[in-house]
């Protein structure tokens, strides 16, 4: 990561400010207003970095001018809620009322972004309800663009599951996320059918490797990632408390990590947005 990447944060901000101009013609407004992203963060197994990615995405949307609504499906730990106490709704996917709160809100026409952290306990139920409610089509109709961010890990079944998700939700963008922190993919995994089937999949991003010390710093849920990116790095800045009371080097390294991820997310959401109309017209033709 080079220093030049830091300077890109402001242009990203401006580009992503949603168009809040009221439009008279409802048809016009549909085509003119950019879709609101609904990021669904999931992985088959526990401890793959889901909540970290969900948090990074939420901070990305905050910095890009559309602070998200956040859903945490981990009723017991509520880790994501600890980072966004005022914007997070905790939902128990086993409860029908909560399923309604989650999916009905996700699919609603509204300018804000949405981020869902699908805990591995909630995985099966979440995607079952998502399929049965035909959520993706409804979301699209309301100018919401659902995107599944699926963190693969080292095991064959994680790839097989990703392949099944892609098949089951062929009307929804699927981003494969490689978390470098989890280590290299097993040889056995590389030979498995699921892994091979996804070789050509083009929507991909990586969570770069983080120094273990920095990973610990990220464990503090109150550490604001958007503050790390948006506040000046310079030591000469006085009077302002630095986020997380972290030393300069650590803040610099975290910032580099975040900028890499933000750029990937920015590229992917842009690309998915430009693809979306093609997708829906293909659907309409069916």
């Amino acid at each position: 990561m080079t220093v030049s990447a830091f300077s890109t944060v402001l242009p990203i901000d401006r580009q992503l400010l949603p168009d809040r101009q009221p439009l008279r013609d409802p048809d016009l407004s549909q085509s003119a207003v950019r879709p609101s992203p609904a990021a669904i963060v999931a992985s088959l197994h526990a401890r793959t970095g889901k909540t970290l990615l969900a948090r990074v995405l939420a901070d990305y949307f905050t910095l890009s001018g559309r602070p998200p609504l956040v859903f945490d499906t981990d009723v017991t730990e509520q880790t994501l809620r600890a980072s966004f106490p005022y914007d997070t709704v905790v939902v128990d996917i086993g409860e029908i009322r909560d399923q309604m709160t989650l999916f009905d809100t996700l699919a609603r026409r509204a300018p804000e972004a949405r981020v869902v952290d699908v805990s591995h306990h909630a995985f099966r139920k979440f995607f079952k309800v998502m399929a049965e409610s035909q959520f993706a089509a409804e979301a699209r109709a309301h100018n919401v663009e659902p995107i599944i961010f699926y963190i693969t890990d080292r095991n064959p079944d994680a790839y097989e599951e990703a392949r099944l998700l892609r098949q089951r939700f062929d009307d929804c963008a699927l981003v494969l996320v490689d978390n470098a922190f989890l280590g290299r993919v097993k040889e056995q995994t590389r030979r498995a059918a699921g892994y091979q089937a996804l070789q050509e999949h083009d929507l991909r991003m990586a969570l770069p490797r983080l120094d273990p010390g920095l990973a610990d710093a990220l464990d503090d849920p109150s550490l604001s990632l958007s503050a790390i990116v948006s506040q000046p790095l310079s030591r000469s800045e006085t009077g302002q408390r630095v986020p997380g009371d972290l030393p300069f080097e650590e803040r610099a390294a975290l910032r580099a990590f975040l900028m890499t991820v933000f750029r990937d997310v920015h590229r992917l959401t842009r690309e998915i947005e430009t693809r979306a109309p093609a997708l829906s017209s293909a659907e309409a033709a069916l």
Partner: protein, 246 residues
């Protein structure tokens, strides 16, 4: 196509008889088969509330309403008539139909007749079946086990059950799966056909604001029921398309 009378009945109340009628109406609509419905829950008419455009409330005990249903069978453009019999009046209605010679006409091949008998979980339902069976010789008899309100048919001993059906092969068993309470309740409140609820429409065809999740549950549930009706060949049997294939 011969005129078809499909009767939905139960001697016991609260077994979900009208719900079953509603699923049949949705099923026929999906099969592009026009149907008219008679709601015998005179004078209230639960079925009519959900399908007002095709449903007429009748009092099956009066000659005038019997004529309205039966005398119009051969003249009506719409060949399928569904009659939702009021709880407790099933045996009596079958008696009445016998008296007016309806079954003679059925046996002569003028009409097709089917009965969907919605049964409860108690042993009393088995007696009810025994009572109805004599009327059903050579007719299409569907015994509907309704799990919609989570009934478990715990009282049904397989041995007793078999004994009741000894010497008859007319009965076809149909199972209606459970729908979660909240979804069921919301469709009740909406007062529209299941298909309209799923399509997010009001009675007047205007877009409604039904929950996406609940619509999903109703869609899945109704699909299972339609698969079940397909499996037992409900429409094929009644329209002779699958003459005595079973």
């Amino acid at each position: 196509m011969k005129p078809v009378v499909l009767m939905v009945g139960a001697d016991k109340g609260g077994v979900g008889k009208t719900t079953v009628s509603r699923t049949v109406l949705d099923y026929l609509r999906a099969k592009n088969t026009p149907v008219r419905a008679f709601d015998a829950e005179h004078p209230r008419g639960t079925l009519q509330r959900f399908h007002p455009d095709i449903t007429e409330v009748v009092d099956v005990t009066t000659a005038a309403d019997q004529m309205k249903m039966i005398d119009t069978l051969s003249t009506s453009e719409i060949k399928v008539s569904l009659i939702d019999i009021r709880a407790g009046l099933l045996a009596e209605t079958l008696d009445t139909l016998t008296e007016v010679g309806f079954f003679d006409l059925v046996n002569e091949g003028e009409f097709n007749f089917g009965l969907m008998h919605v049964v409860g979980s108690s042993v009393a339902s088995l007696d009810e079946i025994a009572e109805v069976l004599p009327f059903m010789k050579g007719q299409h008899y569907f015994i509907v086990k309704n799990f919609i309100n989570d009934t478990s048919f715990f009282e049904w001993n397989p041995a007793i059950y078999k004994n009741y059906f000894k010497g008859t092969n007319t009965a076809v068993e149909v199972t209606i799966p459970k729908l979660n309470e909240m979804a069921y309740e919301q469709v009740e409140l909406a007062g529209v056909p299941f298909t309209d609820y799923i399509a997010n429409k009001h009675t007047n065809g205007q877009p409604a604001n039904n929950s996406l999740v609940l619509r999903g549950y109703v869609r899945t549930w109704l699909r299972h029921i339609c698969d079940e009706y397909d499996r037992v060949g409900l429409l094929d049997r009644l329209t002779d398309r699958q003459a005595a294939a079973a």
